[in-house]
Symmetry: C2
Subunit: 166 residues, 2 copies
């Protein structure tokens, strides 16, 4: 069997046999998988009246544990987006009543973002179905393969410095 990236590698092998395009076999696949999975997750969340970024922010707060609060900075590091994007996201989640901004009295530059009861309920109801959906997307792998894949990806992330979610 072969996938779209195999075809790409074959084409390069024919056109530029002088270049070792092996690295594309990994990076090209990560790029394509990311796009495919984005679509799948987007569709899944849309079916539940949520955007993927909404779930991501709520989930980041939820898994941080009580009191379900993080600074805006911690949220944009976790989501790997810029501060402008996080300001926008918090605005909209707050408008939906899923989070609220809390002034930090210790450091008045900081804004803490806190999950509301409604936000917590929503994420707690969604996390199970969400991972079930992710499991469906990975169903082609045995559990051993899944672990090996996770391990290899971890090595790569570590080497690129992705060692903290902030």
């Amino acid at each position: 069997m072969s996938d779209a990236v195999d075809q790409l590698l074959t084409q390069w092998g024919r056109e530029r046999p002088d270049v070792d395009v092996g690295p594309m076999g990994v990076i090209g696949r990560i790029t394509r998988l990311s796009r495919l999975l984005d679509r799948e997750l987007k569709e899944f969340f849309a079916g539940h009246g949520l955007e993927r970024w909404e779930f991501d922010v709520l989930a980041t707060l939820r898994r941080s544990g009580p009191p379900y609060e993080l600074t805006a900075g911690a949220l944009n590091r976790a989501a790997m987006v810029t501060s402008g994007a996080i300001t926008n996201r918090i605005d909209r989640l707050a408008a939906r009543g899923l989070v609220e901004r809390v002034h930090d009295e210790e450091d008045r530059r900081s804004v803490r973002v806190r999950l509301t009861d409604q936000g917590r309920t929503m994420v707690d109801e969604m996390v199970g179905p969400h991972v079930a959906n992710e499991a469906r997307l990975l169903a082609a792998l045995t559990s051993e393969e899944r672990d090996r894949l996770a391990g290899l990806l971890r090595g790569l992330l570590e080497s690129l410095g992705d060692t903290s979610i902030g």
Copy 2:
């Protein structure tokens, strides 16, 4: 050692021990890697006066072989973007003189996009440095690990139906 996703899994394990969040160990890492690699590639191409999408389109045409022509539809399937995005990209590449639109006389709905000599020169000069840069990003993996990783990712892509670059 642990990466950002390990921390995420640990947090979920503490907060929601009833949910098996294992699938996040794969999908979360693919998502994060994709973002990190995007940044790296963007920076690399910017250093050479190119956008990543510019290289992607030129490379897709180049590796298809003589006469270095593809339809607009084939290009948007390869790039996994919508037709509006491809129209925009072709416009800008044509304005830079790197590609040209050719009317297809067989099927007058179709537009073929052809690499100009200038476009071909540019991609031929860049492909070597580009894969060298990708190899640098993967340097943490042995060549055996890289092959195993590529194989696992291929299995996943196939299962999701990514079997043709159009």
